[in-house]
Subunit: 228 residues, 2 copies
């Protein structure tokens, strides 16, 4: 009978879920370790971009590639449930891109990344951007072996998101507050949002940008330069 709540209904397969999750995460961590070793050996900066759907990951990536493509070899892994719409935008910049469609799955995993980096044939001293599936929950649990995890939050989503989705902001190295050009039209307090993020993750770094208007890009490109 139901062991979760004592309601007398048939038991949920909780124990099986917990065991399978542990196996999945253990396996994922094994692949993530391999990816991380590969990135270190080849001096590759690998950035895992995470956010809600539509927070501006692709727009920021396109602007970033345009700014850096004459200085660095850049490759991109695009994670989406369906379509290659984002990969088409990236390909138009001239960067190498590999699309991963996750189907029913809600996140990228380290095994998929291991295959993608072989397909992409990354150069030494290059930059790899991984655009994860738009989802503030599930991708938090899956280490991809990335050098840095960057969480984008759009000002249209509300300033309390770090409290409501704590795992994601706890696991991120940097939170970028994006779409600051829309601040005059929405109810969003940057100071409060930053305080919430620091409450969840005292070591998180913070930045504000408007990717569409190219505001704050110098801060972002400077951060990337230091991360290398």
């Amino acid at each position: 009978m139901c062991g979760t709540c004592g309601c007398g209904q048939p038991e949920k397969p909780q124990q099986r879920i917990i065991e399978l999750e542990k196996d999945l995460l253990d396996e994922n961590n094994h692949y993530a370790h391999e990816n991380r070793q590969y990135f270190q050996e080849h001096n590759i900066l690998a950035i895992n971009f995470v956010s809600s759907p539509g927070a501006g990951k692709t727009t920021l990536l396109v602007k970033t590639i345009e700014a850096l493509k004459n200085h660095f070899s850049i490759a991109v892994i695009e994670g989406d449930q369906q379509t290659d719409l984002d990969a088409q935008q990236i390909a138009a910049t001239g960067a190498k891109v590999k699309q991963i469609n996750t189907g029913k799955s809600c996140h990228l995993d380290a095994h998929q990344i291991g295959h993608a980096i072989k397909d992409l044939v990354l150069e030494k001293n290059s930059i790899l951007f991984i655009e994860n599936v738009g989802n503030l929950i599930c991708p938090a649990m899956f280490d991809l072996g990335e050098t840095q995890r960057v969480a984008l939050l759009s000002v249209t989503e509300g300033d309390n998101k770090p409290l409501k989705y704590p795992d994601m902001f706890h696991s991120a190295d940097l939170m970028i507050i994006n779409k600051t050009d829309l601040l005059p039209h929405v109810d969003f307090n940057i100071v409060e949002c930053s305080d919430y993020a620091k409450r969840i993750n005292p070591s998180i770094q913070l930045m504000t940008i408007s990717a569409t208007k190219s505001d704050g890009m110098d801060d972002w490109l400077g951060w990337l330069s230091r991360a290398r």
Copy 2:
């Protein structure tokens, strides 16, 4: 060895995942059937609200409750990974509210809803709003026994989301395009977005609103009235 891709790495526990997912969904469908029967027997309109984080579900709910609370008994189930911030907003309207924190989990399930409706002691001929976890992927798979599923999409998220997250829009009865007050400031084509949604789900109904500005509320309240 890896049966997914033939890469020679240890096999992923794919078969176990598929079996467990089937068990979980079968079990969920059993509880969903019970909930649906309960709603039908008591003539309760149960609406399952789904969207990305920050698309405006709570704001729309507060406005809807304010408009209807003198005419109907209204209860709300709030699904969030963490915090009861949304439930506090709902409670301030005077509506009955039950918070469910899902922790590591990325969606509400029908078993949780079954417990919550017992705790709420719903009245006959009442309306139950279920605000699901902000996530465009996982909640699509879990029938809660609802009368209608309503997907909110904010114009700040981009008009291609029905193509990128097809399961959610395929499973919805109504897509509400929200935050139309921000249309002058973002790149979003309502006609194209509607075409994409119809391509995924030819029977989906469509509506545009601005919950914060109360634009389109008559259409929405009319739809709710017909749904009863």
